[in-house]
């Protein structure tokens, strides 16, 4: 299993290094969104808009990455390969997670560059919450965009179809975000919202790859 995970992950890395399409896409989207939000929004909302930008850009980038997995006949290239597709899904989640981390760092830099009066503080609370937030995003975006790209050829409506999973995730992350800078790290990790968010991530990570494999092969 780990061998296949490694193979698929490094295949994606090789394509990314060679093509750099997603890299440029991330650069452009991040720059545009962060500039627009920091220009039009009050400084009180900068932190929220940072995570909203992360959500929007990662959704768009994720669709591009998923589309690379489709052949000319709109089927997943790996669909007929003799291995468990949930392993493929996990490999894609890990790759997307790495891409989104890079994206978050870039956005952090851009937001602090463009906003005049408010700086997003880089502390342990911020790091932990961002990792959990990105992990959740990469799991459900990857699974559902791969599934829906295959079914429709286009995955624009994936956000609507995964609403039951997205809404609790968004509520929990919003509540945690409200408390991000109010507590020390030792108190922050004890917050009920954060712990529920971590539990939700673990649940998603366990369920989504199996669901993905089952939906495609059965």
């Amino acid at each position: 299993m780990f061998k296949i995970l490694k193979i698929i992950f490094f295949k994606d890395v090789l394509i990314e290094i060679r093509e750099k399409g997603n890299f440029y896409y991330i650069l452009i989207l991040s720059a545009v969104f962060s500039l627009v939000f920091t220009t039009y929004l009050d400084y009180k909302y900068i932190l929220f808009s940072f995570y909203i930008t992360l959500l929007i850009t990662s959704m768009l980038v994720n669709q591009r990455i998923s589309r690379q997995e489709l052949g000319k006949n709109d089927e997943l290239i790996v669909f007929s390969l003799p291995f468990d597709l949930s392993v493929f899904c996990i490999a894609k989640i890990i790759f997307n997670f790495v891409i989104f981390i890079f994206q978050a760092l870039l956005l952090f830099f851009l937001y602090n560059l463009f906003s005049n009066s408010y700086y997003i503080e880089f502390n342990y609370n911020f790091i932990l919450f961002t990792i959990i937030y990105i992990l959740g995003l990469s799991i459900f975006f990857t699974c559902f965009s791969l599934m829906l790209e295959r079914i429709k050829g286009e995955g624009q409506f994936m956000f609507i179809t995964i609403l039951p999973l997205v809404v609790p995730f968004l509520f929990l992350s919003f509540n945690t975000l409200n408390q991000l800078y109010y507590y020390e790290f030792s108190e922050f990790i004890k917050l009920f919202n954060l712990q529920l968010l971590i539990a939700f991530d673990i649940l998603l990570f366990a369920v989504c790859p199996i669901l993905f494999s089952y939906a495609l092969r059965r």
Binding site: I7, I15, E19, G71, L81, P82, D84, R218
Partner: protein, 205 residues
């Protein structure tokens, strides 16, 4: 020869529309079986059903006297499906694609002898820079390196020039002589240099 596939009363519907209904046929081991029919009669769908890639159908398929989907991964190791439109990673070279696929199958690159389909000329090219014909040749080369029991080809003669069609015909004959079973669909006017063991015509059902 023993029975490899037994298909009973296969029906396929797309919502309310019937694609085919109550088709029954058997496929013997070590045979070349053709599926014929005009465009839109369901040749590709039928091949996908037999390959285990489409499970939304009515009827029964027995493979070696057991249900088709008991062990999907093992089944896919024995039965290879090659779609009409070859699918590879566009940004990787031919050789990199082969290396990637090599991790899932037991390849034998020595089978590509005598620069078959001019492999040496295209192995370092990226897939996105290849023509449809070259992509098709890559797909067939991929099949040649494998040692599956059953090979399912969807429109294998499409995009190929006459020389390559002859090479493919020889390859089919070679597979059969190695006790392999071949299923294929074709609508081209190619004159085959092999003998078709049996066929099903979807225009008649």
């Amino acid at each position: 020869m023993s029975l490899l596939f037994s298909c009973k009363n296969l029906s396929k519907y797309f919502y309310e529309t019937k694609l085919f209904e109550n088709i029954s046929f058997d496929i013997e081991e070590n045979s070349i079986f053709q599926i014929k029919g005009q465009n839109g009669t369901g040749k590709t769908t039928l091949l996908k059903i037999i390959a285990g890639l489409d499970t939304d159908f009515e009827g029964d398929i027995l493979y070696k006297n057991s249900k088709l989907f008991n062990d999907k991964t093992r089944y896919l190791k024995e039965v290879l499906f090659l779609p009409a439109t070859p699918s590879f990673y566009e940004d990787l070279t031919v050789e990199e694609n082969f290396n990637f696929l090599n991790n899932f199958y037991n390849f034998n690159m020595n089978k590509i002898k005598n620069n078959l389909f001019k492999y040496e000329l295209i192995k370092d090219k990226r897939i996105k820079n290849l023509s449809d014909g070259q992509r098709k040749k890559i797909q067939l080369l991929f099949a040649i390196t494998l040692d599956h029991n059953v090979f399912i080809f969807d429109e294998p003669f499409n995009f190929l020039d006459t020389e390559s069609q002859n090479e493919l015909s020889d390859y089919f004959t070679n597979l059969k002589s190695n006790n392999k079973t071949i299923l294929f669909s074709d609508n081209s006017k190619v004159s085959y240099q092999f003998i078709i063991s049996d066929m099903v015509n979807l225009d008649d059902v």
